[in-house]
């Protein structure tokens, strides 16, 4: 799973930090630091972060399942 945040869109609403605190952290209340390659086990938390973002700045790309063409 790959996570990309459009930092030009991000306005530090911090909703992702509540949804997936292990993967998104705000530094100094305005700089977002995030894990671009979270483990598959975090799928639900990352989905919550994607949905909760008020400016829809978070994009997730899921790895193709093993064996898929």
């Amino acid at each position: 799973m790959r996570v990309v945040v459009d930092l030009n869109r991000c306005q530090a609403y911090a909703q992702c930090c509540y949804a997936a605190p292990e993967r998104f952290v705000l530094r100094g209340n305005e700089i977002l630091v995030y894990d671009p390659a979270p483990p598959a086990a975090d799928r639900a938390a990352i989905e919550r972060a994607v949905q909760a973002c008020p400016v829809r700045a978070i994009r997730v790309e899921h790895d193709a399942p093993a064996g898929a063409a």
Partner: protein
């Protein structure tokens, strides 16, 4: 007279007879996305216009009636005495009714207590509270979702977070209902209502003052203790009037908003049984369902502001001093922003709704509301057997801004 020039549309929105379905009125308002009403109020109902005004520094949240201090021509009065009077009155205004820079300092102090750990810590507790509520309904063939779950859940959560004794709830239940009317535009003009609100504020402020004194003596691990004892590097310790106003705001917000998200949410799911079935089969759909509910049936339909300067927008000019309504629930259904906006579709991409407002005043409690709504709606979807509405539409609470069912009677074949 063309339809969009009907200057009574917003008055019709506030008419209780239109509470069950205000959306056709919103569509008519959007024909002029910024529309002046007969009483001088300006209503913004288009998505782009609401968004622009939310971010506009000329738009103020300090919505004192603009005529309170008309210019006298006496500079001492105009520039020193009256602003000082405002300043003193200001201290009783919570940060939802404040502008920068005060707003930012106060909000930062609240956010410092609204920590990720504290909010996330409520997740398990919320699930347990939902289970308790459903346990109490288990034997009944029908129950009222508002009284039995949608109201007690957020109230218990906010009491525990703040550190307000749950057993005092009957006292501040009535206070909260009364003070929530301050968000309705009528409260600006209705002198009797303003007087009642001032009286209620004094009662609840007295209660909070005593509680805060106790917290200072013996701080506990709760937000009120934190707010009462923390020291902000810039703002220092929060003053007592600010502390009391903040505590009251958080308590009322916990009483009057999430209840609508849960009740409107279940009402919408019961009107869209396919979506209820999909949520039951796949609880991981909950975040999508909840964001779409925040767009489609939001708990707060509008907030008021005041224009502090003439603002040219959407082919018109909002006059200086004009009361301004940001009609979030209309922007949420703007066809210029959302394809097929009147369709409830949790799978819609790019769902930038105003369910929690936006910009500087974005709802502080949003993460908590999401946790509570997810706990309630996933449990209801999973555990109610063959739920159906006893009445549709249900009766609604009075508010046109804080809008939701007064009662939502559900008939079930059982609770699993």
């Amino acid at each position: 007279m063309t339809d969009a020039s009907d200057g009574t549309l917003f008055a019709q929105v506030r008419d209780p007879r239109n509470r069950a379905d205000p959306y056709p009125l919103y569509a008519r308002l959007r024909a002029r996305p910024v529309a002046r009403q007969d009483d001088g109020t300006v209503v913004a109902s288009g998505h782009a216009e609401i968004r622009a005004l939310l971010h506009d520094p000329r738009v103020s949240s300090e919505d004192l009636p603009p005529a309170e201090h008309p210019r006298t021509g006496n500079p001492v009065k105009d520039w020193i005495v009256n602003p000082l009077k405002d300043r003193i009155a200001d201290r009783h205004r919570p940060f939802i009714f404040r502008d920068p820079p005060d707003h930012g300092l106060l909000r930062r102090q609240v956010m410092a207590q609204f920590t990720v750990a504290r909010v996330r810590g409520m997740k398990r507790r919320t699930d347990a509270l939902v289970a308790e509520c459903l346990e109490r309904c288990a034997e009944a063939a029908s129950f009222d979702l508002v009284d039995d779950l949608a109201y007690p859940l957020p109230v218990t959560v906010i009491c525990e977070l703040l550190g307000v004794p749950r057993e005092d709830e009957p006292r501040f239940h009535a206070w909260a209902t009364q003070l929530a009317t301050a968000l309705e535009p009528e409260s600006r003009k209705d002198e009797a209502l303003r007087a009642r609100n001032t009286e209620t504020f004094d009662a609840i402020a007295g209660y909070m003052r005593d509680l805060i004194r106790e917290k200072r003596k013996a701080p506990a691990d709760d937000m009120l203790s934190g707010l009462a004892t923390a020291r902000d590097p810039e703002a220092g310790r929060m003053s007592d009037p600010d502390l009391i106003a903040t505590a009251i705001l958080l308590l009322i917000a916990g009483h009057e908003t999430t209840v609508n998200l849960i009740a409107n949410g279940m009402l919408t799911l019961l009107r869209h049984p396919d979506e209820l079935a999909r949520l039951r089969a796949d609880p991981e759909r909950a975040p999508r369902v909840i964001e779409e509910l925040l767009r489609y049936e939001p708990p707060v339909h509008y907030r008021t502001r005041v224009a502090r300067a003439p603002i040219p927008i959407a082919g018109t000019v909002i006059p200086e001093g004009a009361p301004l309504v940001l009609l979030f629930a209309a922007g949420n259904r703007d066809p210029a922003r959302f394809p097929d906006p009147d369709r409830f579709d949790p799978d819609r991409a790019d769902n930038q709704h105003f369910g929690f407002g936006g910009a500087l005043h974005y709802c502080v409690g949003a993460p908590l509301a999401r946790i509570e709504a997810e706990a309630a709606l996933t449990a209801l979807a999973a555990r109610l057997r063959a739920p159906r509405l006893a009445e549709d539409p249900p009766p609604y609470r009075d508010g046109s801004s804080l809008r939701g069912p007064k009662r939502l009677r559900l008939v079930v074949d059982g609770i699993a």
